[in-house]
C-alpha cells in the first residue's frame, strides 16, 4: 500500500545512485537516525547500555569491517580478534601518550584526544592488516583462512609479551584512563551512560556511511570483481594486489576502531588473551554470516542478533527457569552453531536477504499479481 516505487521517478544518475532510492526507505532511515540520536540517549540506563547497546554498536563496526573483507572482497579472515587487539593496544598507547627510547633519550608524545586516538588506532590496524593481507595474493580460499590464524595467534602472543605495549604494567592488563571529549567523559570509571552511547554511535554512523560509500563506487566494484572471479577481474584490469590489500586495510581499519572502542569505552580494562582470543574472531564472522555476506545492513542485523541472543537466553534460562549459568552458556554454543548451519543451508545470504525478500513482498502487497 504505502511501500511503492511507482511514480518515484529518477531524472538524474545521481538520484539513481543514492543509498535509499525508494522514498519510503529514505524516510525510514531518517526516522531511525532520529530515534537513535535524539530519543534513545534520554531513555538509557546503565544496564541497557552495557548489556545491549555498547556491544551492539561496537560489534556492528567490527562486522562492517569483516564484511568488507569477507562479503565484498571474498577473502575469509579468522584474524579479527588479533586485529581488534591491535586497535585496543594502539588506542591505549595513543591515549596515554606514546614514549619511544632512542639512544637513551626518551621522546614522549603527549596523550591524544580520545576521538583521534580511536581513529589513529584504526589507521595503525589498517597497516598491520595490510601486512597480514600480503600473502592473500598467493594464498586463496581456506588456505588463506588458516593463514589468517597466524595473525590471530601471533598478535595475541605479541601483546602478552611486549611490555612496552601495556606500559610495563605488572598485571599485563591495560586500563583506560579518564578521557573525554568537549568536557564530557567517555572513558574511565565516571562515565554517563548516554555519553558512552553517543560517542560510539557517532563513530558507528561515520563508519557505516564510509563503508557504504566505498562499496558503491569503483573501489567496491574492484573488491566484488575479485570476490566473484579473481582471474577475470585481473584480465579486465583490476590489480589484484591493490584490490586485496585495500580490502584488508579498510577492513582492518574498522576492526581496529571497534577494538579500540571495545577496550577504552566498553570494558575499560583488558587482558589480551581473554578479550581478543580466537572466539572473538568466530563471533564476528558469525555475525557477518548470519547477517548477510556483502551487506552493510546485514552487519547490523547480525551484530544485533548475536548480541541479543545470549542476553535473551540468559534472561529466560537463568533468570526465568533458574538454570545454572554454565549450562546456559553451553546451550548458547549449541544454538549458535546450529543457527550458523541452518542459515547456510536455508539462506546463505543471511538476515539481509530475508529483509530484501520481505521488502519485495511488501512492494507488491496486497496485490501480488
Amino acid at each position: 500500500m504505502f511501500y511503492r516505487e511507482a511514480g518515484d521517478f529518477k531524472t538524474t544518475y545521481k538520484d539513481d545512485n543514492q543509498t535509499f532510492p525508494i522514498k519510503f526507505d529514505r524516510y525510514r532511515y531518517y526516522f531511525v537516525l532520529f530515534v537513535a540520536f535524539a530519543l534513545i540517549p534520554f531513555m538509557l540506563n546503565d544496564y541497557w547500555v552495557n548489556a545491549i547497546f555498547m556491544p551492539f554498536l561496537i560489534y556492528s563496526i567490527a562486522a562492517i569491517g569483516l564484511n568488507i573483507l569477507v562479503g565484498y572482497c571474498g577473502q575469509v579472515s579468522l584474524g579479527t580478534g588479533g586485529f581488534m587487539a591491535v586497535g585496543a593496544y594502539a588506542c591505549y598507547k595513543f591515549m596515554t601518550g606514546i614514549d619511544i627510547w632512542l639512544g637513551g633519550v626518551q621522546y614522549a608524545l603527549p596523550p591524544i584526544n580520545i576521538f583521534f586516538s580511536v581513529i589513529l588506532a584504526g589507521l595503525v590496524t589498517a597497516i598491520v592488516g595490510a601486512l597480514f593481507g600480503l600473502p592473500s595474493l598467493r594464498i586463496k580460499g581456506f588456505y588463506l583462512a588458516v593463514a589468517t590464524l597466524a595473525a590471530q595467534f601471533f598478535l595475541v602472543w605479541l601483546f602478552n609479551k611486549w611490555e612496552w605495549a601495556y606500559n610495563f604494567s605488572a598485571s599485563g592488563q591495560i586500563n583506560a584512563p579518564e578521557r573525554g571529549i568537549f568536557g564530557v567523559n567517555v572513558t574511565g570509571p565516571n562515565v554517563d551512560a548516554w555519553a558512552k552511547y553517543l560517542f560510539c554511535l557517532v563513530i558507528l554512523t561515520i563508519c557505516a556511511v564510509v563503508a557504504r560509500n566505498l562499496t558503491r563506487g569503483s573501489v567496491g566494484r574492484k573488491w566484488m570483481a575479485i570476490r566473484d572471479m579473481d582471474i577475470a577481474a585481473e584480465i579486465i584490469g583490476v590489480n589484484p594486489l591493490k584490490a586485496k590489500l585495500s580490502a584488508f586495510a579498510v577492513s582492518s581499519f574498522f576492526i581496529g576502531i571497534s577494538g579500540a572502542l571495545f577496550f577504552s569505552v566498553y570494558l575499560g580494562a583488558v587482558e589480551v588473551g581473554e578479550a581478543f582470543g580466537i572466539n572473538k574472531s568466530f563471533l564476528v564472522l558469525f555475525m557477518v554470516i548470519i547477517g548477510g555476506l556483502g551487506s552493510i545492513f546485514g552487519s547490523f542485523a547480525g551484530a544485533a542478533f548475536l548480541v541479543l541472543l545470549p542476553v535473551l537466553l540468559k534472561n529466560v534460562l537463568v533468570g526465568g527457569l533458574g538454570w545454572p549459568t554454565d549450562l546456559a552458556a553451553h546451550l548458547e554454543f549449541l544454538i549458535v552453531g546450529a543457527l550458523i548451519i541452518a542459515f547456510l543451508i536455508a539462506e546463505p545470504h543471511g538476515l539481509a536477504q530475508l529483509w530484501r525478500v520481505a521488502k519485495e513482498k511488501l512492494r507488491l502487497w496486497p496485490f501480488p499479481h
Partner: protein
C-alpha cells in the same frame, strides 16, 4: 610484413598495424601449445583466428591479453615492444576481451558488471571515495553516462538492475560484450562470441560485432568455430592447426588454401 593499411572488399579503409605477434612459442611443460606464430592486427579491421579444436586459438588470445607468457617471441603494440606485463596492465593499455566460458561477476547486477568495464577510467582515490560527495560522485555519474550508451547500444536497458546470475546464456554473452565495450578498448578480443547460441542469437551477435566495428571503429580480433560467421564477418583470417599457423589472408584466400582444406577435411597420410 607491411605496415600499411588496405581497403576491404566492402570499401572500409583499414589503418596501419596496431599489434604484431612475432614468432610466438608457448609451452606448457613439454607440450607445445603454440609454435613460432607471427601475424599482425591492423587498425580498424576484424581479424579472425580459426582452427580445429585444440589448435591453440584460445592460448593465442591469452597470450595477447597477457594471461599466458610465451617462452619465445615478442608482442609489439602500437609501435613498441611490449615488456612482460601482468594481465591487468595489458587491460590498462586498452585491450579488452570476452571469455569462452562466460566470466561475468555473478554476484553483481548487470549495471555493476558493465561499470567494472570502466574501472580503468576511474581514478579517484580511496579517500575521495569514502567521502563520496564531490569528486567520486561526479566521476561515477560521468562514467555511468558512458555505460548507459553501451547499454542502449546493446539493447539491454531492461535488465540493467537484474543480478547477472538470473540471466539466460545469450544475454550473459551480451552483457559480457557490454563490459568489454564499456572499457572503450583500442583492441577488442572476442573468444568464441557465438558458442552455444541459436541462429537468431548468432545473427544478433554478428550485427553487434559489425556495428561496434563500424560505429566506434574498434579493432576486433575474434575466435570462432562457425565458419560461415567467420567468413562473413572478418576482413582477414589466421588459420591455426596443432599450434602452427597454416594460413593467413582474406577469407577467400584462406578458403582456397590447400593446407587449410586438409586441416579441416582431414587428409590421408600415406
Amino acid at each position: 610484413m607491411s605496415n600499411e593499411g588496405y581497403v576491404t572488399a566492402d570499401g572500409r579503409k583499414i589503418g596501419g598495424t596496431v599489434m604484431e605477434m612475432k614468432n610466438i612459442t608457448l609451452r606448457f611443460g613439454g607440450v607445445k601449445a603454440i609454435t613460432d606464430i607471427s601475424f599482425d592486427i591492423k587498425q580498424g579491421e576484424i581479424r579472425a583466428i580459426i582452427g580445429p579444436n585444440g589448435a591453440g586459438k584460445s592460448s593465442m588470445l591469452n597470450v595477447i591479453s597477457g594471461f599466458y607468457v610465451p617462452q619465445e617471441g615478442e608482442v609489439w603494440y602500437k609501435g613498441s615492444r611490449r615488456p612482460q606485463m601482468r594481465p591487468y596492465e595489458v587491460a590498462q593499455q586498452g585491450i579488452a576481451r570476452t571469455f569462452q566460458n562466460i566470466a561475468l561477476f555473478e554476484g553483481m547486477t548487470v549495471l555493476d558488471n558493465v561499470m567494472t568495464g570502466r574501472l580503468n577510467h576511474m581514478k579517484t582515490g580511496l579517500f575521495s571515495q569514502a567521502i563520496w560527495k564531490g569528486k567520486a560522485e561526479q566521476e561515477e555519474v560521468a562514467n555511468r553516462e558512458v555505460v548507459e550508451k553501451v547499454i542502449d547500444f546493446l539493447e539491454i536497458q531492461a535488465i540493467r538492475k537484474t543480478p547477472v546470475s538470473r540471466l539466460p546464456y545469450g544475454l550473459k554473452k551480451r552483457v559480457e560484450l557490454a563490459r568489454a565495450l564499456a572499457a572503450e578498448p583500442s583492441i577488442l578480443l572476442l573468444d568464441e562470441p557465438m558458442a552455444g547460441m541459436n541462429v537468431e542469437e548468432k545473427e544478433d551477435m554478428s550485427r553487434f560485432i559489425l556495428d561496434v566495428n563500424d560505429e566506434f571503429g574498434t579493432t576486433i580480433c575474434l575466435i570462432e568455430h562457425d565458419m560461415g560467421v567467420v567468413m562473413d564477418l572478418s576482413d582477414r583470417v589466421v588459420v591455426m592447426d596443432y599450434g602452427k599457423k597454416i594460413g593467413d589472408g582474406s577469407p577467400d584466400e584462406v578458403r582456397n588454401n590447400q593446407a587449410v582444406i586438409d586441416a579441416y577435411l582431414g587428409v590421408s597420410h600415406d
